[in-house]
């Protein structure tokens, strides 16, 4: 849904609608793919959170390019076994990370001092071996870590990801607030989407820059007022359901044989990557 292409560069209302729509679409897609039957989808959320976080840490610790490349290959294999399409990975992670980090990494090819490898004709710029290596580290690390993070959130319902954070001894209050926030993000995204859609349908003619700014800021203000109103309503609803300041989380996790095997596999792979990547 490329609204911005139809409405031109200055059309901030359609572009904001598109951004809000994409965020909602991403959340719904994640719930959909988490429900399918792949390898990672069958695992306990706590195993996935600890296993994939361990691999992300091993990626950060590795000081050899081939080790990071091997973790990336493992992530791609896990995606294939979990029925996550290459298209989804490419559109969500690989291409955006390549564009963003690639733009940052390219100048490092020339700016990093070291042994000259190639001189760009006409520009007197020299690609150095150290520049090539550092750009490789940056790109591979970003791609690998982002792929592993995506695997977690597209194979696990979001509420379970947050509950599983308790394995890291994160306080229950923080986890409960995270859970509430993730739910209300969807509600506020929808509210903001409706606000901008209705504004778009009422708008006739052209808006000047200052008017556009005024409209964006007023929309943010209205959304904030609604947020506070909703906060009051939620508090009353919590009280009506017996909330007296104590936070409990329903823990419906149960480790099966496959989970223990997967946990051992993740631990062995992460340890091997840390050892090989020293």
């Amino acid at each position: 849904m490329k609204l911005s292409a139809r409405h031109g560069r200055g059309a901030f209302v359609p572009r904001t609608i598109e951004a809000l729509y994409q965020a909602m679409e991403r959340a719904l897609d994640a719930e959909h793919s988490a429900a399918s039957s792949g390898l990672l989808q069958r695992l306990d959320a706590r195993v996935k959170v600890s296993g994939l976080f361990a691999l992300i840490l091993a990626t950060a610790l590795a000081t050899r390019l081939w080790v990071i490349a091997a973790i990336f290959a493992l992530a791609a294999l896990l995606a294939a076994l979990s029925r996550i399409s290459i298209r989804l990975l490419a559109s969500r992670v690989w291409i955006p990370a390549l564009a963003f980090t690639g733009a940052i990494a390219v100048p490092a090819l020339f700016l990093t001092p070291g042994d000259g490898l190639y001189r760009v004709p006409g520009l007197n710029w020299t690609v150095t071996a150290q520049g090539l290596t550092t750009a490789g580290y940056l790109l591979l690390r970003v791609e690998t870590a982002a792929t592993l993070a995506l695997l977690l959130v597209v194979t696990t319902p979001w509420m379970q990801v947050l509950k599983a954070l308790r394995v890291f001894r994160i306080p229950v209050v923080f986890v409960a607030i995270l859970g509430m926030t993730s739910r209300y993000i969807l509600l506020l995204l929808e509210t903001a989407h409706e606000m901008f859609e209705s504004r778009k349908s009422r708008s006739v003619g052209a808006l000047h820059g200052a008017e556009r700014r005024q409209m964006a800021v007023a929309s943010a203000g209205v959304l904030l007022s609604r947020t506070f109103q909703l906060s009051g309503d939620v508090y009353l609803a919590m009280q009506a359901r017996g909330f007296r300041g104590e936070v409990y989380l329903l823990d419906d996790f149960a480790m099966k044989r496959l989970d223990w095997l997967a946990l051992a596999g993740f631990a062995a792979l992460a340890a091997a990557a840390v050892w090989a990547g020293r």
């Binding site: 200055g10 059309a11 901030f12 572009r15 951004a19 809000l20 965020a23 992300i56 950060a60 000081t63 963003f100 490092a108 700016l111 990093t112 001092p113 071996a129 520049g131 290596t133 750009a135 580290y137 940056l138 591979l140 690390r141 970003v142 870590a145 982002a146 977690l152 979001w158 990801v161 306080p171 209050v173 923080f174 607030i177 926030t181 993730s182 506020l188 995204l189 903001a192 006739v204 003619g205 808006l207 000047h208 008017e211 700014r213 964006a216 800021v217 007023a218 943010a220 203000g221 959304l223 904030l224 007022s225 506070f228 906060s231 939620v234 508090y235 919590m238 300041g245 104590e246 936070v247």
Partner: protein, 354 residues
Amino acid sequence: MHIPDGYLSPKTCAALYVGAAPFWYVALRRVRKALHTRLVPLISLFAAFSFVIMMFNLPLPGGTTGHAVGIGLAAVVLGPWAAMLSVSIAIVIQALFFGDGGITAIGANCFNMAIVGALVAYAVYRILAGRAAIGSARRVMAAGLAGYAAINVSALLAAIEFGIQPLLYRDAAGAPLYCPYPLSIAIPAMMLGHLTIAGFAELTVSAGVVAFLQRSDPSLLKATAGGSVEIGEPAAGRNLRPLWVGLGALLAFTPLGILATGSAWGEWMARDFSNPALRREIAASSFHYAAPLRAPEGLARLSQVWTAPFARYAPPYVRSAAFGYLLSAMFGAGLILLVCLMVGRLFDRKEPAT
């Protein structure tokens, strides 16, 4: 601004988690004490609001657009401790579910934006707003500058974290293992975008929403206003008079520049090198390194290319140095205002009909 995985070493990330931990601890203790109040849903919903506000494409002067983070607004409405938790939660959710910022870098992002950003925003807001009424224009300005300062201090911290990576972490062949750019590149590269686009997006949202709340729900601004501040009447329209008065005062004081003694380092003219008195001033401002007896060849050649009409802020046809300074200041300020006006007119295009 949201640092992804791979840009910072695990040691830097661990250090920033450790740096953030005491602030989270204190903030959570405060929340635990107030669990029976409406603080829990308020923090959750404000975090959700911060997340959604980042999706807004804000039209900025000059025809560009930017995204705000909402640090300034969170600090102004919730106060520093609740703002820390609220923005931290938004950052965790962005990193986990939306790939905006890395998982290993959550500590760094929270330290830069949620903790330091919230503290800076709150301090700037309280200092600048003082005891002004809730509905005063001064609070709008204070909120805008609080957001602007917070986002820029956060960006500076991120730039320093990037810039120290190549100093500390390299492989055996000397290739940087993480962010490859030193401080001399990382700081200007980060600050350029934040002092302009991102800073103005944050300023616009913070000031604009506070102005909106002054009209619609001023009680929301009461929590961080301190003591017995009057709600007062909201500021009407865009009152630019204080800015014009300030600009006029600055212009009137420009002749004070004449009182300054010594030489401005690096602003020497070709003929200064052959003047003994000026040579002594150049040496005094250069750790007593003696200047060459003649101007360097390149400097001498290029100084002939253009002769400024108001060289050294002293138009040749004005005898009074003070009046020359004042005239130069008026001409310069007028020229800048004219250029800004023309650029604004040029880029302030109309929104296409929808």
